[in-house]
Symmetry: none
Subunit: 165 residues, 2 copies
């Protein structure tokens, strides 16, 4: 499928699911909730509460910070989005399906101290394999149901490795 089309269908599908879910659970589809769903479906990152609030204000929508937080909490409680608290004091919000993005992975060189790669550069198969294996084992052995992770790997990067020879 052509990526663009898939994307649009994906987004629209996601929004429809959200709306259906809200109604099913007896919540009203207010103007503000529509705007927030619209914004979230655009997959603009990062997106914490303040990002959303400022973006909607910029478009002259009638919105308050409290509503943004309340809506995000509501969507979280319905498991339609995933609240992630990692690395800073600000929570950000992801799609629950995007589990691999629910992690922060940093690769750092021991020698030059440079960040070889972070989340964005790592391909998903690494993350998924890592997370799946870990989560299953950890739940089985330690009874912890994993929500977030932060992973630092360090070692020798390619440049320093070549210098070494």
């Amino acid at each position: 499928m052509i990526p663009e089309i898939e994307n649009i269908i994906g987004k629209e599908g996601r929004k429809k699911t959200w709306v259906k879910n809200l109604k099913k659970n007896g919540y009203k589809l207010t103007e503000q909730r529509k705007e927030i769903l619209d914004f979230l479906s655009k997959e603009i990152y990062p997106r914490n509460a303040d990002d959303i609030y400022r973006e909607l204000k910029k478009k002259n929508h009638r919105i308050g910070m409290a509503t943004v937080y309340r809506t995000l909490d509501l969507l979280s409680s319905l498991k339609l989005i995933h609240k992630v608290n990692i690395g800073s004091n600000k929570a950000f919000y992801l799609f629950p399906g995007d589990t691999e993005d629910n992690t922060a992975i940093y690769l750092v060189c021991d020698k030059c101290g440079k960040l070889v790669s972070n989340n964005k550069c790592l391909n998903n198969s690494i993350k998924i394999r890592l997370v799946d294996n870990a989560a299953k084992n950890i739940f089985k052995n330690c009874r912890l149901r994993i929500n977030h992770f932060q992973i630092f790997f360090s070692g020798l990067c390619e440049i320093c490795s070549n210098k070494h020879k």
Copy 2:
């Protein structure tokens, strides 16, 4: 070696390292810093700034919240402890690596903040599987030869999970 003895040596060793490091870097060994180092060396969890402050107050030590934060920041900057921000808005503080090879896995509960398990409690098969998979993939994709790792997982522990129901 008898566990108790090993433990005392471990703790004392850690404290000595800290004190040496402070002096080496020209920082004063004040009464407050001593108390905080004492507390940290006891490996009581959880231990965020407020835990430390309240514990020392309870013992009638002269201490202010600002000092606790400033000391924790100082120790972090000297890499003597590791500040972790995950799962909640409260930072907590761990040893940078409980093993000599600087590889560590920490499991923390999002809700109660308790350390569910650290390196010592995790069985090796989890660690090996996790890290082997990751290391191979990361070398292939990012050309980083992994030497060390630090992994923080957070989620819902068994106790909080049961309370929730």
